[in-house]
């Protein structure tokens, strides 16, 4: 099954994506990741105002049979969370790059984004898995 790879974002090795918008970044998980999880039933989002450190586990996404950690792709402070996921966690399945976004953070060090993979590199990466 071919995963969709959004061209406008950068990817971590643990399948999170980052879309930079000014000094802030929107974070989500990729189509590949949501596919592996199957039906998502619950998303535990970081609270607004909390800090996340790049590489550290910061959120959890649950399906019926698994609970996968989301690792912070960048360091920053959470400025907004996708409250729609409380009632409709399946948005992460249906629209992982759009309506299924997780949080928005104020970037502590914007250059971290450069260490992430671009769409082409990520496409090659998931082909090897």
């Amino acid at each position: 099954m071919d995963s969709k790879v959004d061209q406008g974002v950068r990817y971590s090795k643990t399948h999170e994506w980052v879309r930079v918008e000014g000094g802030e970044a929107v974070i989500g998980i990729s189509d590949y990741a949501q596919n592996k999880l199957c039906d998502i039933v619950f998303v535990e989002l970081t609270a607004v105002g909390r800090e996340m450190k790049v590489g550290a586990a910061c959120m959890v996404i649950e399906s019926v049979k698994a609970a996968e950690e989301v690792f912070a792709p960048v360091t920053g402070t959470v400025t907004a969370r996708n409250e729609a996921l409380v009632k409709t966690p399946e948005l992460v399945n249906s629209d992982p790059f759009g309506k299924g976004w997780l949080v928005r953070v104020k970037l502590a060090s914007p250059s971290e984004v450069n260490a992430l993979m671009d769409a082409a590199a990520y496409t090659s990466f998931i082909a090897t898995l």
């Binding site: 039906d39 039933v41 619950f42 649950e62 399906s63 019926v64 966690p89 399946e90």
Partner: protein
Amino acid sequence: MPEPLLFEKSRPGRAGVSIPACDVPQTPVPATLRRAALDLPEVSEVDVVRHYLRLAHLNYCVDEGLYPLGSCTMKYNPKVNEAAARLPGFARLHPLQDPSTAQGAMRLLFELQGMISEIGGFDAVSLQPSAGAHGELTGILIMRAWHASRGDARRTRILVPDSAHGTNPASTTMAGLEVVEIPSDARGNVDLMHLRAQLDERTAGLMLTNPNTLGLFDENLLAITHLVHEAGGLVYGDGANFNAILGVAKPGLMGIDVMHFNLHKTFSTPHGGGGPGSGAVGVVKALADFLPGPVVSHAGKDAGAGYAWSTPGRSVGRVKSFHGNFGVLVRAYTYIRMLGPDGLREVAENAVLNANYLQARLKDTYPVPHGDRTCMHEFVAQGRIAGAPDVRALDVSKRLIDYGFHPPTNYFPLIVHEALMIEPTETENRETLDRFVEAMQSIAREAAAEPALLHDAPHASPVRRLDEVKAARELKLTAEKAAGR
């Protein structure tokens, strides 16, 4: 037809049981303490009986047929056990009655402590833990306490094989220790190279299930326990698979320092739909002082005192109120007394033969990753069928229900893809085993010819496949209240 909830059958004014009139002068209950209303079902006794009988009809059970559930040991539950546990002189005892008025019960516990010690090769036993996981927590706390008693504060890690049951790492975390995973090697044994690499002064111990969840007796068992001891650690034995070596080997003599036994697996007490169980813990002499208390002690034949409660000097503390699941312990005691030493050994012999028989007859139809080895009381096959790439373990399992069998354990151990862990136990006869093989072979043929039969299975059960996603998203965890209540 779905059976309504008791709440839906409730009608105001109906009652099941007659209560005696009050024979003493009444003391008013202050209004400030009273509850306003109690919203429980109002039904008659005949409603209660019919309700639960109809619910019973929706259940499969071991009294009906085979449960080839790996690592669960769903053997037959002897009815004599039920008679024993219900004897009024057992069932009506209060746990806190003076020991002088409970010498029969205490003697049973004392003898059971001794019998489990003897069977496992241990020096002391606590009958207090209520379940295997409870025993695991107890055992790891004992290991931790032992290291602390020697002034060694560095030992914070427990090594756990990747084939381990989820309770192993969960118990380790509850005890405040860190889990370090050890992979298995190509033959299904604990990988010695990786084990050696992880053994150091931070190792509190190793948790070992042997035979493991692949159904294999570790070919390097003595080397493993020796290595752990040499590194200053202890070995915990998870006894879930003890049915394979009952009377065949004594773990306590092979380097296991502390081990739990699942009495509701190996020792025939009924599973009850999820308990009660009992997770008795056996230890070698060095750890006896750390067991949870109280245990039953005896001052000796000549002392007048008889059986008494005593708490080991450096006990990790009680893990439960009172003494343990006595009703379950009576059943295990009855079983051991009926079987005797030869009967216990025959259990393992027949359990292992039955499993090898199934492995031999199924491994050409379903891949068995370690099928070249002799399995113990269980083996792991894969729900993968030639010519049916879309069929998975889940589908095979659900289709087995239509053939009148409970499915095997699914998707465990995690180290085998599409795992089907099959354990027949010794209480199944050859015809049942043959019918199971025929069903599995038939399902394999259906998988290739008519996969929809599997994907949509079960067809013949009281309900079809249930929507677990809906259950997790909507979380309806209690019955809805009727309007106005």
